[in-house]
Symmetry: C3
């Protein structure tokens, strides 16, 4: 039952001694480089208040983490028993020790999974836990973590420093006033925490509460959105505001990568219909396709790096969504197409040296078929690291295998942790750094590159590529 092992210094490396030795040497040189976190979902409120408390072990490690709760749910553990808040305010488990016990008894489910690897690393490296986590050890470990979480060393700002984070970008809706970011900037804490402009909630005409989102955008931008033109003006206004607060990038999520430029009249008509509450047919898909073109145009003008995440069928489980809302593990990928869908955008902006467009996928078949050939040709395109389900040791191996021969490493954007689980940040970067070192060691051991070259590449992959691509 023991779950899991202690942290071996050679963990994740290939067992073949020659490769392992090289991997180890490459890794040692990059293990303690500062962390560049150009894309993620940490709530900036954690860092706005120097006394912010991370709560109980269950608050921190279980309740908000859909990577954890989805796996337990798939094995018959009800979300209520994990303390997930219900939309209707219905009863859920309030005893965090019980929640922790349920989690610990089921921790064996995470054997061989990245979530298991991260949690194991966090328990040992962040909290100094020395025993495996299971039903028997659950309460003692709870006590151990809970006690530490009350100490000043476990305030988020202290952890930020301990984690050696050089820069952390959050993700913020277009209408976000960025109060937390203002607070961080005006405090005497000199860390680099930057917002990222994510306008999905106003761009996607079918977004939940779209008209309320538009109203909020009007309010924050102080531009009354009454038509397509004022909508575009409000977006430009907010981009400028985000940029002023240090933003270096935008982020866009869509079901597909479809891009298409509407005529001004078409855009106006569709937007007017939406404002009246009537979207018709494929209005939303076409409008998203059009706004992606607009966003690329604005990026060319203001220099914000553009990120595009596509291919997730959100809230697939209606029953769960109705009861608990989004981000509960019910987002399931679909087959995705880039070559034809990005044709319009790339033909207009793909050759422009001012644009950086970072692509992410949930369909690994596109790595070798579409994304690497696109990134190995268009100056504007860079490939983001393996995303979501593929942010894992084997996911990274597949990514290196399928992407690098065609695109090279210099058309990739390095790593980002993409997480809302703040204490998992170092563990996630560590998996990437070890996976990179192991992959490069394989190239050296096969005499495809030399060790000096591998050292440069390891540093680029761990640190420089993310910094450069995101202009940080």
């Amino acid at each position: 039952m023991t779950t899991f092992t202690t942290l071996n210094p050679h963990r994740y490396f290939d067992p073949e001694p020659t490769q392992r030795k090289i991997a180890s040497e490459l890794y040692e040189a990059i293990a303690t480089l500062p962390l560049i976190c150009p894309h993620g979902h940490v709530d900036p409120r954690l860092l706005a208040d120097e006394n912010f408390s991370l709560g109980s072990p269950a608050d921190l490690l279980i309740i908000p983490d859909h990577y954890v709760t989805r796996m337990l749910y798939s094995q018959g553990v009800r979300l209520e028993s994990l303390g997930a808040p219900r939309g209707d305010g219905g009863d859920v488990e309030k005893d965090h020790r019980k929640i922790w016990q349920t989690f610990a008894e089921n921790f064996f489910l995470f054997r061989g999974t990245p979530t298991g690897m991260w949690l194991n690393d966090e328990l040992v490296s962040v909290f100094g836990v020395s025993e495996p986590l299971n039903g028997k050890t659950a309460q003692a470990i709870y006590d151990h973590i809970a006690k530490q979480l009350t100490t000043p060393e476990f305030r988020p700002r202290k952890l930020f420093e301990r984690f050696n984070i050089e820069v952390l970008c959050t993700t913020d809706t277009a209408s976000d006033p960025l109060d937390s970011h203002q607070a961080i900037r005006s405090s005497n804490w000199k860390a680099k925490v930057l917002p990222t402009f994510r306008p999905d909630a106003v761009v996607n005409l079918e977004a939940f509460n779209w008209r309320e989102n538009i109203a909020a955008l009007s309010q924050e931008s102080k531009i009354e959105i009454k038509d397509y033109k004022s909508f575009i003006a409000a977006l430009e206004n907010r981009r400028a505001y985000f940029k002023q607060l240090g933003a270096s990038a935008t982020d866009h999520a869509a079901l597909t990568a479809y891009t298409h430029e509407l005529t001004d009249q078409e855009a106006k008509t569709i937007f007017a219909r939406a404002l009246k509450g009537h979207t018709a047919g494929d209005d939303a898909a076409r409008f998203t396709a059009h706004i992606l073109m607009q966003m690329a145009r604005m990026s060319v003008e203001d220099g914000l790096v553009m990120q595009l995440h596509v291919g997730s069928f959100r809230n697939h489980n209606d029953i769960l969504f109705d009861r608990f809302g989004s981000d509960k593990g019910g987002d399931i990928p679909v087959a995705t197409e880039y070559t034809r869908n990005l044709h319009a955008l790339l033909n207009k902006f793909g050759n422009d040296p001012r644009l950086t467009l970072i692509l992410f996928t949930l369909d690994e078949t596109t790595y070798s078929r579409e994304l690497a050939p696109l990134a190995g040709h268009y100056p504007a395109i860079k490939l983001g690291p393996p995303w979501w389900f593929f942010d894992s040791f084997n996911g990274m191996k597949r990514y290196f295998d399928r992407v690098i021969e065609t695109a090279g490493i210099y058309n990739t954007a390095g790593f980002n942790d993409d997480t809302r689980a703040f204490p998992s940040i170092p563990a996630r970067h560590d998996v990437w750094r070890r996976a990179s070192a192991d992959w490069l060691a394989g190239l050296v051991a096969r005499h495809i590159i030399g060790k000096d070259e591998a050292k440069e590449m390891a540093r680029d992959m761990a640190y420089s590529l993310a910094k450069k691509t995101y202009k940080l």
Copy 2:
């Protein structure tokens, strides 16, 4: 020419000594566990008669095995020369020694294939053959096997016991009277041989001889099928009958995974049209989609585990199908979609703890993109093992690589051999057990899990998961 090597005790394991040693240790502990065979196509008549003879070596190993004949056919060997019976009763080779000679001369074609690995294992382990099989050794090996097949030790029931099969599930059409299963039950042979309810021939309105199949279903169920309502009643009747004879599961094959609930009126109208011999447009596809919903509903009620196999374009080779019928190697996979297609079924039954839905695929791209995320979320879903072309050493490696990080092993259904080739059963389980041990050894050697955890997982993968998922 030599084809193949003798059976090395470390076969299939990674050559790296550390990993090989761990794999070997993990394998030793599971190598002789009883075999759980929850899905397959062994003809129950073999086991109904204690004196059943397996025939000649060609009867047993070549003529009925489309894994073997398709490969020879692809290299220009005519099926007639392999003794495949023609639908029109035309002449085919009757001399089983000649058939065996042709096979032996072409056995080199199977180098590096699972069929080659299974056959080699069977020759050595089941029949004690000690020489490689090729044109020169063909007749001596034929003699050797033929002689054994006449002995009592080679009656199927004896082999069943020698193979250490704990339970074997067959696959039976909805209208099957299950006489062989009755005979096994009423004999004094106490083996566990169970039927599986497979209604494709009556559910698919475009099935060959559909109306005759419906008539047979009427007869066996003693419910006159005159409309949709009586059709459903007849299906429920037969499920109950199968269950009474020990069935624990149903099995469904379809071209796609499309599920959709028709209104009662739509279902009635389509079924009535079909009974009159006029299916129109997409009637068959829509009706299959609807019946899958009905089957899930019945599974919730009667507890039968539901299996879904999709993605095979059956009888792609019209000429061969017209001459020899189905199952001659002419079934070719197509790209498959689960996320959208299963949406209706999962939203109605996917959260219900009473349903177990086991999914199989012929499109490996769906492993990491759709199936693992679905299984890692919905309580009802479990993933079946690599199917058909992917029931192979590398197919298993890809499956572990792409599925487990997202779904964990506990959302998989262990192994099943899915075979009609009775003497290949131990060899197929052995490939799985060795592949599992090797994969787990890789995790241990990389310090991702501990050896004690790997031991538990190896046993679960070899034995417990199949038993538990299929409620055996």
Copy 3:
């Protein structure tokens, strides 16, 4: 910075000592076998004139090689600065030393890519360069290569002999008079250089300058193409001419693998419309689908091996295409389907022992899902080696992994280099031979096949399969 290492004799082999030793032994036995080059794009003019000069190092290794220029372009190097000729005759860099310098300074971009591996091998093996290539060494290496290129030993015919090429097939349009091939034949140089019939420019109704291409076909065939019937006659005429000059194969490129037989009347109508300059709707796609059926029919009759390359979205980058024309790296793959698309062709000709149809893909998902099952069944089908982006060490590993278990090696067509970069031919074959030896060594080390079998297979993969499949 050093880019790259010297050529280690064990390069590309698995670092595990047991596997490496076997790989090395297998490789040694095939390393110096003659090269069979059944498909490629070397310009036959190089070989028609015994004094042909390969030009400067930039002429030879950079300017015409879109594998090289696309990668530099993706990182912001303008094609003009690489000397790529502009369609409008605009200024481009003329100083080949400057072009070489730019290339050398960016050579690190090719780390871990096949282009890097080939170039490194060429520099060392063909030109005897002993230093890594980078900005500092650029000019000295330029001098070294330039000097050699002026010597008689570096005339293409001498290199052809030094490379130990047994046969080289070029690719020639249907209307090509094959003057260079005539010149080679009538010279006293006895090398085997053969044409390949590639009629895309007249078959694809949407081809650039289609009507001019038809006119050229009329002229060369001496058959006035005034309707569909005379078009077919002209194609048959040219196939006969190519065959007379030694051709053993045809080659066809299409966006999809769609095959479909039009009625004679439909074919006539569509062709007549095209001659008048009006193609309507899906005329071009349907006509290509029909002509592929015709080409299979002709292959059955004249014995020419049929090659089909599908799945490339050509000239995706309109701006670059307008400025520089095609083959500049702007061809991006799309998802591809074979099972349904080839149904018509295979049902008519797939069982015919006179047809050999070699399939190539840019969608690796089709390897295990469609292509291996098709090749493992239909006598006519053979699989071509990994194509284009996948002609790489890892691309080959994926191909072996996903294809061979289902199709065996004997349903593959061995290797072809598919290159227009003449001096890269030995390096490309060497990657294949090393990758094959390494893969076979893995099978031996895992005790799946014996070493004697692996030796036969290594020779087949390096030499015999290509020769046999292409009837050379």
